[in-house]
Subunit: 310 residues, 6 copies
């Protein structure tokens, strides 16, 4: 949680932690959508698919004040939207995200509040919890979230992507757990989720303790991402194709799968099995099973079935 | 749990989810054993090694009604059999398993039972729990289980292999978490165990949410299997060799290792260490330690020692 | 826990589990330090970095009686030493460690104590717990520990390195979970920590149940180590460079990161986030954040900042 | 969760589960307050004390549609209100509450929604979770909540009071876990919290399985309430006096105590201690300690200190 | 687990731990039932009620070899029996139970089995687990179990009753955690369940560490039992009346209540609520709710409703 | 943790939180023992019984600097002392304890250490953890601890007694969770342990949030103590008699009982049973069982058996 940084006098926006930033061409594919958000662009590239784009390309999609609250609104709506079965998240412009936007956050949380250290701490704790919520909503949303990363994914960006379900990246992508570089332990999700999404604890520790960059190949071999694409265009196409595969399957099956995968992460196998049985005792009672099985028998794709909304 | 599928009219056995099945030659190596089972063939290829073969090659080892209960009987016996120190599981015929056998299961569980939805759910929950048990017995059996997979490993097959301890496969093997394709969340173990046996959560989610196939190379690089063999013959030989290595060591050491590895998976490190200390306070008091240490001093393999049965 | 081995008559030191041992040249880089320890050499190769060397090269750094207690003293002191921000652990001489030193341990724990089996077990439990503590102190120490492994890392060596935070090795390194070879389940940490530091459970089980050696390449691809170096010299240089990166960052950030990474390993994501918020509500109130952010704005490395001691 | 009841034709409001209801005189002490709520009356009987009154006396404070959402709004505001340090909850009129208001709820949730059983279940789960939230907000509010119960406390009333911190009642109070009487297992908190607030599990089970009434004396001897008063008037006076004692102490101390008591309920002692240490490392840094200690030295009550708001 | 006692030469049955035993008149109310058991008598005193009587009055219902296995069979059948909605357990003859029957057990488990201490321990562990199961089946049975205790309830008797849901006793009942008196820590449930059924930990510890007797009054005030009756006859009548109350309510509601009460005991409130929501999303879809609510509206008892079997 | 209080100018020792203190006659029964401690008196009133007396009667046994460390040393020694099987703790002089000694602690921890708030917090956390240890050693000591309380038991006194196993008090005893009165949440055990030793959560919350006194009768009815004695003399006699009962039983049985009771408190029933089975698989292999059973058969007390030391 970076809010306290704002105490330092920050005088000029200079691209944050990115080595250089040149001209950034706004090329958001969703520029024509009438988004209610200023930091996000929402579009519907195909049936049942919602595309959420980090959309401040001129600021390298740095996470400003608006972003932290709009994400909560956005994913709360997605969770309730029966027309959405899967979400794709990506970044507009040159990079996925440069992480937190120090300039913008400063104007909001300029001074620590509280009459003594205990009260300042009390308020900080509430603020941290609020920021954690920005990414936890992704996890609580029962619709799968595919995130497609290109260029830089720094600081808060890693917090964001580890809360998503499937991670894809371009060959030029790089990842950086930046927080120790600015004097703090990452507190909105990276330290909790990164070790649970990749298999090498030595690598997790190295990344978090040294803030070194990790590039696409290592991201793939370590399992952080499950696919690497040559460039952003093919990646977005690949992400949408994958999203289409998911959207074409029974929403009862798909969302139940997500809910139980997350439950299982945080419980023993025995507890996960028990929960699963209590879940499916009702969720098996769906016409989707019959329709899907029928399609399977007929050698058709489940995508040929018109499932009821959920 | 697929039992509810049977409500749909399934009229003809056509290989389930396998693209094509041509002629399947029954070539089970255990065809001469007098197995008490109809879906499994049991043999003893070497001292202290039990070989459990999925043995309905003409049906692609599809998991029929007999299978779900025979597995429980079989592994309960193995757990109690002092002559068995390690188990190898493989599939007879062309593939490891095509997953659940819809035809056969249909005849058994044709109608959901219960006077209202709550009662149907109640009964479904008991059925799911019973099917979960079919694979949990593998985990509870203190003897290590090496599974050797060739060709297809679909649906229930993934539930099965993730409950085993060591996974090997052939170059032509492929794996598919099939459940979302037929409208349900996998409920007999895959969602609970797969994330705990491989390191990439993005990959786990992709497999479970899209039902795409994973081939041998990715299975190896992701850690699902720890070895890939060129063909079934060399794999079975390799599996038996590995089983021989395990069978040749102290059963007190080997089975205690399995029990504690599984305990540790579901507990914190501190709790795992505490349990381990309470375990070994008695298990160290075995002649096996002296005999093994003696062999080690004399540069002999532990396999040269004749350990007492356990 | 190997203490009971001593009941067997062990008559001659012959290199333990290493295939051959030839002449071992003592080449400890810390030979000039006036260490208070007989099994460890302590040096300070750079500011804020403590180098702990397993230092009985003529015995292949076998873990003798002194080692098991000196480690506790050593890491307790390091934990309290404000001049230390990061630790490097390596082995003097030809190999990292041959594991437990049966000869030396024998003289200490010659007879199991206790008037009946229950009392012997009671005492064994206390002994095991004491030995577990030897490696748990590494984990409890809030300063990151980088371990650099060359040559053999056998038995107790695997217990040791899995309790460290970052693992590096040379191309000639090999690892062996040796315990089943001498008739016991590993009880001082390997079975608890190895599955949590690498992503392939099949591999973990194979290593622990067969005691086969794993070489550097597999250690890297499985994630046990995060980097492989061509030889010991470059590895030590690499380890010190990495340690320098860590030491150059805010100790509040770095140590808070380690504490929370370990906490998260043993808790659900939700619990980890809650703990993190309670942690950072005070830890964000540090001048390190401002100093680090300032350096970041000025495109300077955090290493340019002189952080207060912790 | 009772929403499904509404499927049954409910034709006339007849006092729900109360044996008889005669004339109910509205005697809410907060009748003059300009409450933004229709089911609750909010007043401030003394400094730093908020009084929340269930305020539909003519309906025996039955929990209607408005109530379930107003409670969330009300306690969310209280949690943020620096002028509130403690809350008193009571019921206006003749009884504390008759439980859920079937009539009013029916108009809202008349039909189960969803195209098949799975979808209906999915929606029911969300509804249950939402209703659970109505009482969980009480627990999450860091300000202590004293509940004062007179007359009947039925069904949802027990869910409510077990989420409060301190329970007081009148001699004529009675409690009833009513849910089994209408064909369901209590699902908004009673089954989870009642066993953790009283010590006799046999009694908990008896109450929940038979729906028998428990009167004030047994409520006191079983520990459900910690004090019994002769009548409502003296109870409200007693509740306010107790609230005054709490409000007069350091809010940092009081609210930290509540937070950690709830944390401890759900964790082991070791985990509770660890969390406590991480909490107090900042919360001890308050002027309240010095001010309170000073008062203590001077034999003054902490109530004489003017603590900063929190 | 007392099996090892049999090593001691036990030469004569002398009433175990009971001070004197005089003539015991067999007065089992179920003497006319054709029970398949030798240690238990099963009867059906009223519709949907199963009465399980410890039925070796001439041996003070000491728990012999048959008892330990018959309990498992008996409760497994009860769990599956749709005609049973509630169970009453009591003891035939003069006392509830004198605890384990040393004489009979001796003939079965005369010698510890195993070639060394580790193997003996291994077998003991399996035996203990098997005996634990004898009482855990009571807990796993979803039908509520009311236990009615008169006279002595010693050793294994306390293990048994703490696994039941509701405990009643006569004025002459007494309870004794006997195990420390014979040199062992109680290992079939008392140490795990007693602290969770009564509220005073000091009392639990005193009972378990000193083996002192506790009489009816203290059993009531401590919450071990929820009702005390003057004599056995009135107690049995009271137990049956209470069982009738439970049997007359919706089995979906009643059994769901038991399942969730036990789940909640072993989980945090948040986890219990989550499980409850997943449970009731299907269990609310029952005609029992409508029927029960209708009866409630009409001021009828739920016992007037004819619920479908479960 | 009260260390920060010392920042306030404390000028005169005036009896802390006790209303008045008059003349305190030193009447420690252990005055003749040559204790190595200044705050504690150690004696051995009977075989296998260790009596630990809080022994600064002139200071009302206020917990000074020496106390906090001597307790750790004392109980560490007791845990290892084979001649001790049970411990009695009481207070010399007029009261049990007045709680923390502000005067003495002030001289030790006068200033918070650390260059910024984060560093001060870091150090405070270590200090709190150290103080928590003072009482956790009581719990970790496998020998049962009986505490006998007379007069006042304030603040730290409640932390102390809730970590003991059995609590006795005199009719004039009173208890006070004092911490909120001095501006902090109790952080060395009360908030974690008090709710787990008494059954009424409403009472726990009331005591902790209002700091009101609780007298002997309520302590008994709430289960905090399991026996009340008319005066200190009879209480000490009663405590020693109870200690004698415990000391006269098998130490393997008694200490295994304590270890497992504490384990069970913090785990589910299923986990407690599993741990118990792993514990007793060795602990049943003791001659104590045979000796105890023999005595039982012969109608002798277990106290007649001469058990081996543990």
């Amino acid at each position: 949680m970076l809010s306290v940084i704002v105490r330092s006098a920050v005088t000029k926006y200079r691209g944050l932690w990115l080595p250089g930033q040149a001209a950034v061409r706004a090329m958001s594919s969703s520029s024509s959508s009438s988004s209610p958000y200023t930091s996000l662009a929402i579009s519907h590239p195909a049936e049942s698919i919602t595309h959420v784009e980090l959309n401040r390309p001129e600021k390298l999609n740095a996470m400003n004040k608006a972003f932290w609250s709009e994400m909560v609104t956005c994913f709360t709506e997605i969770a309730e939207d029966p027309n959405c079965r899967v979400v794709v998240v990506s970044g507009a412009g040159r990079v996925f995200t440069a992480g937190i936007d120090l300039m913008d956050m400063a104007s909001d949380v300029l001074q620590p509040r509280g009459d003594d250290m205990a009260r300042i701490s009390w308020n900080l704790r509430k603020t941290i919890a609020k920021y954690q919520e920005t990414f936890s909503v992704i996890e609580r949303c029962p619709k799968p979230v595919v995130v497609a990363i290109h260029g830089a994914c720094v600081g808060g960006g890693v917090d964001l992507i580890t809360a998503c379900d499937i991670r894809l990246c371009t060959q030029d992508a790089w990842f950086q757990v930046k927080e120790v570089d600015i004097g703090l332990a990452a507190d909105v999700g990276t330290l909790q989720r990164l070790p649970k999404v990749i298999g090498s604890r030595s690598l997790v520790n190295e990344l978090a303790l040294t803030a070194r960059k990790m590039y696409a190949d290592e991201a793939k071999s370590s399992g952080l991402v499950s696919r690497v694409f040559p460039d952003k265009e093919t990646m977005i196409a690949g992400a949408l194709e994958m999203a289409g595969e998911i959207a074409g399957r029974s929403p009862v099956a798909v969302q139940g799968t997500k809910v139980n995968l997350i439950y299982s992460r945080d419980h023993s196998v025995a507890e996960g099995l028990d929960y699963m049985a209590s879940w499916n005792m009702s969720m098996l009672q769906t016409q989707d099973v019959m329709q899907s099985a029928q399609a399977s028998m007929e050698k058709k794709s489940p995508k040929s079935v018109a499932f009821s909304k959920l």
